[in-house]
Symmetry: C2
Subunit: 259 residues, 2 copies
Amino acid sequence: MIMAQKPLIFVTNDDGITAPGIRALIDTMNRLGDVVVVAPDRVHSGKGHAVTIHHPLYLDPIKIDNGPQKEFKTNGMPVDCVKLGLAHAVERKPDLVVSGINHGVNNSINVLYSGTMGAAVEASIEGIPSIGFSLDNYDWEADLNPAKHYVLKIARQVLKHGLPQGVSLNVNIPYLPFDKIKGIKIARQAMDKWHETYDKRTNPFGRDYYWLNGNFTYEDKGKDTDVYALKNDYVSVVPVQFDLTAHSVLKDLKHLENQ
Amino acid sequence: MIMAQKPLIFVTNDDGITAPGIRALIDTMNRLGDVVVVAPDRVHSGKGHAVTIHHPLYLDPIKIDNGPQKEFKTNGMPVDCVKLGLAHAVERKPDLVVSGINHGVNNSINVLYSGTMGAAVEASIEGIPSIGFSLDNYDWEADLNPAKHYVLKIARQVLKHGLPQGVSLNVNIPYLPFDKIKGIKIARQAMDKWHETYDKRTNPFGRDYYWLNGNFTYEDKGKDTDVYALKNDYVSVVPVQFDLTAHSVLKDLKHLENQ
């Protein structure tokens, strides 16, 4: 009997390779295939789709637990992990790229700032089905078991059915006991935003500095959004595309051509 | 006779506040309104939509030339410039945010990695009409005069007519003498990508390192793309949205809800 090749699953995150979220993700992916991890050696929150151009990157094999996965840490950001990892850490194109489990939600507009989703989107540019997972809890001591259940479910489905070309999934999981999560909702990105405030302080040398301290404002009242799904105890799944063209307004802007 | 208030124009970039591209942009905007500049104190290529969370930001008044604009430099990235600048450098909401002129194109997929466009997109989230300008030349000695002509034209039109809600413009300008540029084309983002290669080298201490060195591959053969427009000597203008939802596939993913 010839065994089918196991799927190859590439794992990364933006909270760093030792974060409980990625350890839980690795543990879950080990149940589905061969796992290669390339993740940052430090926390990289808010790095979005940033990529390292002006300094070199290291890619160091590392052993953190007794799992069967192959692991590398790098000084790069999440998108770097995908680019460098696909070029030098795997021997074939992975069947799935997963990122997370992020400590904190990446719903609504946060998808733009999220390194977790930056990594997933980068994989989709490379034509690899990809998913970013985030949990609605910032505490590194949070119970990740209910989340792992949905991570396994969704990853298994994506391995089986694939994803539409150019699309990755932004999955946000409520922080609730397993029996309180109502299920999965396909949703659109809520059009909410941060209301920026900066704490203005003075450093020990008398120079003013500013520290980002925004409030998230819920402006989108739609019931088909990721924010609404999450508030109503569902796991939200938003299909995310990297074509940023606002196709619907192309015609409206034709007047600019006549200048 | 009561004079109408001059428009307030906010200027930023990702090449740093002393780059010739932003100096040319400031010079051009001074012709259209009151100008406030908040720009990085160093080069921040490839930072996309990254935002600074874990360290404080400075915002220092600076005088670089004899123009009438008000200027600040910051240790932040392009998106930080917009967030911090709107919070602490202007007294009212600007009528227009412009970013650039970037030294190097940001067409096709590069829109995702571009700090120039990250800043413009951030402004559109804040409901401010915004434009990122990029020139198809990396040389800081490049002649910026033909580009300035189109920057003025497009900025004037956007001040006059505004932009659709949630949309910013990604403007790429060919590096050609003025009489060789054929005009402006509204275009979609070409679905091209980088083929990643990394130079693998060894540092003086024997440790391997990797340096990003990709090739851009032209895979999208469409004649309605920004890449095509630019190759055919047009200024390309892509309307860019920050709603990343792949609306067309929402229904196709409903099966995930039944897991």
